[in-house]
Assembly symmetry: D2
Homo-oligomer: 381 residues x 4
Amino acid sequence: MSENAEAIREICDSIIRRVDRAYVAECGKRNELPKKLWDMWAESGLLSIGLPEEYGGSGGSLSDIVLAMDLLHTEALLLPLAVPNFMSRGPLLKFASEEQKRRYLPPTATGEEFFSFGITEPDAGTNTFKIKTTAIRQPDGTFLLNGGKTYQTAFVESAHCLLVARTQPYDPEDRTKGISLFILDTKLPGISATQMDIGMYLPEKNYTTYFDNVVLPADALVGEEGRGLNILFDSLNSERLLVAAMNVGQADYCINRAAEYAKTRAPFDTPIGAYQSIQHPLARAKTYNESARSMMYLATAKHDRGENIGVEANMVKVLASESFKMAAEIAMTCFGGAGVDVSQDILPFYIAAQNNIVAPVNNQIVLSFIAEKVLGLPKSY
Amino acid sequence: MSENAEAIREICDSIIRRVDRAYVAECGKRNELPKKLWDMWAESGLLSIGLPEEYGGSGGSLSDIVLAMDLLHTEALLLPLAVPNFMSRGPLLKFASEEQKRRYLPPTATGEEFFSFGITEPDAGTNTFKIKTTAIRQPDGTFLLNGGKTYQTAFVESAHCLLVARTQPYDPEDRTKGISLFILDTKLPGISATQMDIGMYLPEKNYTTYFDNVVLPADALVGEEGRGLNILFDSLNSERLLVAAMNVGQADYCINRAAEYAKTRAPFDTPIGAYQSIQHPLARAKTYNESARSMMYLATAKHDRGENIGVEANMVKVLASESFKMAAEIAMTCFGGAGVDVSQDILPFYIAAQNNIVAPVNNQIVLSFIAEKVLGLPKSY
Amino acid sequence: MSENAEAIREICDSIIRRVDRAYVAECGKRNELPKKLWDMWAESGLLSIGLPEEYGGSGGSLSDIVLAMDLLHTEALLLPLAVPNFMSRGPLLKFASEEQKRRYLPPTATGEEFFSFGITEPDAGTNTFKIKTTAIRQPDGTFLLNGGKTYQTAFVESAHCLLVARTQPYDPEDRTKGISLFILDTKLPGISATQMDIGMYLPEKNYTTYFDNVVLPADALVGEEGRGLNILFDSLNSERLLVAAMNVGQADYCINRAAEYAKTRAPFDTPIGAYQSIQHPLARAKTYNESARSMMYLATAKHDRGENIGVEANMVKVLASESFKMAAEIAMTCFGGAGVDVSQDILPFYIAAQNNIVAPVNNQIVLSFIAEKVLGLPKSY
Amino acid sequence: MSENAEAIREICDSIIRRVDRAYVAECGKRNELPKKLWDMWAESGLLSIGLPEEYGGSGGSLSDIVLAMDLLHTEALLLPLAVPNFMSRGPLLKFASEEQKRRYLPPTATGEEFFSFGITEPDAGTNTFKIKTTAIRQPDGTFLLNGGKTYQTAFVESAHCLLVARTQPYDPEDRTKGISLFILDTKLPGISATQMDIGMYLPEKNYTTYFDNVVLPADALVGEEGRGLNILFDSLNSERLLVAAMNVGQADYCINRAAEYAKTRAPFDTPIGAYQSIQHPLARAKTYNESARSMMYLATAKHDRGENIGVEANMVKVLASESFKMAAEIAMTCFGGAGVDVSQDILPFYIAAQNNIVAPVNNQIVLSFIAEKVLGLPKSY
């Protein structure tokens, strides 16, 4: 456990005492950001973790953030927006110009602003090399942006978006070349967005965006032109672990809710928690979740020691999403017919758990990665 | 296959040509009855199957209804309301007075009216003996109804409801006594209903109902007083098979949709349908679904020959719901991140499939039944 | 059910009364043919089913054989040798010369002789096109046989073997050409065999064979030269169903044994069969096994009506092997630590069940077949 | 990692270089102790770990032993006998008299002697309270031993056995009273043993033992009379972790063997390791095994810090046995038909993995423990 662990726990406890799940669930139904929760993250300093003091941060490590995510998600105080907020900083800290850092980083610590992420395109999916959105350098140094993205969380609500685009047109002969990273001002002319109907009860909105001859200033470019994917890949392992923390936290929420229900629900007078078909799957889910959590904290600590955790982070992604699914599934079964009653607040987790099996990266491609890197097996796709 | 099979197929084909899934999906999002589809069921005669001609029916067997349900659900032309419509007739045909039959049955064949079902109560769940809604005989022969129900499909939209209530107050010493069956006029004074938020994208509304000193006329009673559960249990096996047909049909819809998607989706240029992690689960789901379907039609035929199918119908309930879940799950995985995009129309099936594991009867209690009846094992609950 | 079903049942009942499982289990431990059981098959006429009367048979259909296999395997009266015995006749009946038929078929009905099968080679596995055993036509019309086979059941004990060999040397450019079928006299000079150590407690021996310049007479050839695989493929669907019958039968044996054990085993005084973690998996295994059995008999009947059952037979292969595995696994768990005590006679089924997932054809390749043929998905291997 | 980890690794590497799996596999087929391996454990000092120097030990912690078990089992250099050897010391160190310690402990470090364990009885199974073997105190202070045990590993080969027996006859009214622990001289008159037929290819023999009026000297008693179970329970958590190490090690062995096979096996010319139906389950097994291993070492370290690990040790027991099973199962599937060929040396692990699900303690009872202790659910058995 990191030295800050105790402080993080106290902050989270304080938030948990002041915001209840019902509020966040209600935001989820309306796809609205839980402003109250977001503000507490900001005020308590959680948002400033991982950012150096010179940019308004409070220092701290990935372990600290992961711990906070775990604790708050265990109470289902979801704040998925926190992930792109943390994720966007890594690339900026490492690759942005000093001016960009001074301008864009501090507001992410105060919570005044956050970055949305613009990477996914319908035809590309897991294979980012296939994106077709282009930002072509013009003679005057600006870039002309055309194309569009999908699953853009909080795009309209965010002032800026970290955008991945081709600075060379898509070339089927060599798809890897010419992908760059930009800070996009979301209010520029030529940008439009339509809200998607994501059936996940998420406390945030998702958008499909369209870029029609948007003119990006030259200083929108982050890092070296054509090196956008390398910049992003650099922060993938941290993302795996942040997302894992959300999964193990929510898994525990499901297990706890189901266990409470199973103690009192007794259609045949015996509490259903005394039936092994309810009790054993719950205990198994708890066991697997603790195992995923163990490996998650080991990997996070290793990351904070500066070691490579490519394999561990990917394994933890699979483990945490699968234990969340296991937990959400037995919770649904435990609630029986009441599981689909939205007011019971179990259904959102069942849907999220399945989604987290395939997002933000599909477990299948992660397994292929592990098969190749760890077991030396040939490529399967 | 029954002798009517060919005719049923033609009717269903004709409906499939005229109503598309998009319409029903849209109704599902708004929880509205797909009137167009319902009317076609009525006009084509599907609603009149299983009812003797003297009550406006066209004869026909359970096999015919099951076939129609299977065929239409394979195209995801959901009409869940059809189930209570068919289910309500069995008890009426067998136990209602001639007058009740002549008054209530014909409109169920024309589609002008349908019966909602009032049985589930929050504390009772699977154990119907625990219901607490009472309909106490008054000195003038009427019954005074108090209590309430939950998960009442289309209660407000239906003129009548087949209601299960205690005609003797709940007695913890002997909970089995005094349960009776009524035809409830849903517009009687003292009845209120609030819509539930069922997150299933169902083309119908569900309600929680409240009965506050509702006066039921004496002739609302169906069959013998105190014999309500026996009357209902009589039709449970047919319900198992109708529900199974909806499951195997929707399973096929999921498999077909996923297979189509897998043929064209190719983020790494090879269609994902060529990956065994997609292809094999799809083929397994198809295999298990065909197996469930085989047993379903064998059981239906056996039922129509007048033989007891208590064991088979229950087995088929488990099989069909599990193959639906298998199918919906791999379909979600196949669609990847797009699975939770409601506009892709896969998510509703994923949710329905899990629900059908526990509804209208929980597979766990069905497995207990099989364990006891077939394997001679002791009661486990 | 076929018209002979009642007669088959009586024969099997009579055998079951006279041979007990302990005898066959003991043969299994010693890898010896259960001679007593084989003789009863022969005497009772079971071995003559499916063979025309002119060759010593009694007529009858695949349904009859499948029923007998199912009934006898439900009591674990294993006779795996029956499968090659039945399988070898199909090709001979259809493709052998009249002389070959008169000479070789009658002894398979009396049980005096049986055919072993020679097809599997280590490097070829599932892909028969890759076999390298050659039988090259000599100027005098004889064939010179070289190579060897593996997993040859009862080779040494059988007088003849139905052998698949290349009549043209293996050509990597076109591996499909020149595969032929022979009746091999197992006692010819140049043939040697070593017993394999198959850890399955099978009541039969398996061999690796070596053919070193064995001279096959010209009339050893069955059917047309170079058409060997077509001849064999013709009988694959029947084999799928025979093997399925062995699987569903043994699955029931495991379920019944486990259920009996679960009724009396009571380390905490309650019989473990009252625990849902034992009871529900047993009931599920029973449910899935009945479903597999339903589809098996439907497919068998369809086959006997002369219809193509390529898809159904393959689906049934998967279903029956998986329900056997499900049954054997919960039986092992039910027996707890006693499961590995060979004297409890459960372990052999646990091993056989896993083997039957991959043999005689791997479920994975069957799933690929279903994916391609039924769902239209691309080849995955 | 403990401070001795590097030294332990070197010792294990040296053993791995000098003993190959083939030798141990051959011992397994003959149920013989791999003497060569045992001697290396002794000579290298591995057997002396965990024993204070005054009794001939070299100090060291549970972490050291677990690491050694993990490393050696990853190469399938099985030495199951090491477990009772280590397990027997805990109770002796804590509860035996100084004289007993000086007499019995040193030979367990040199490998000259080892303790067998006598606890399991057929009717008791998981519920040790139900054992019926009695050791009744005689007027002269000796104990008269009657009864018998089962699954007694290496009883005949060991000089002494740590035996659990009732010092008060079995009383159905209070089964918990009067269970004591003894050091049994296995050569005493009245003791007989018959070898069991355990189908696990274990490099050791297992026995059923019979005690017929065996006279135990007074000083055979370990610790306080009637406190035998408390003495034993004290060491259960260590046993859970030792056994877990054997499981994760063997899981890796299976995964590595299967991965090697999958790289070269290519019936359709592509290595089967490129098929996702092989590759993904292998990668999943590896992922889950690493997760189990992570939690195992965390729990071991916590144990060595003197903290209670009742929950973690039990969770790790479940996790490690299930990842071993997952690994062994996909290995069998990967080897296809060759899996049951004993000479391929995969089958023994498939059988062991299933056994380890239920032994030395059944995962189901472990799950019940977790459900009660961690989730607060009611007793289910």
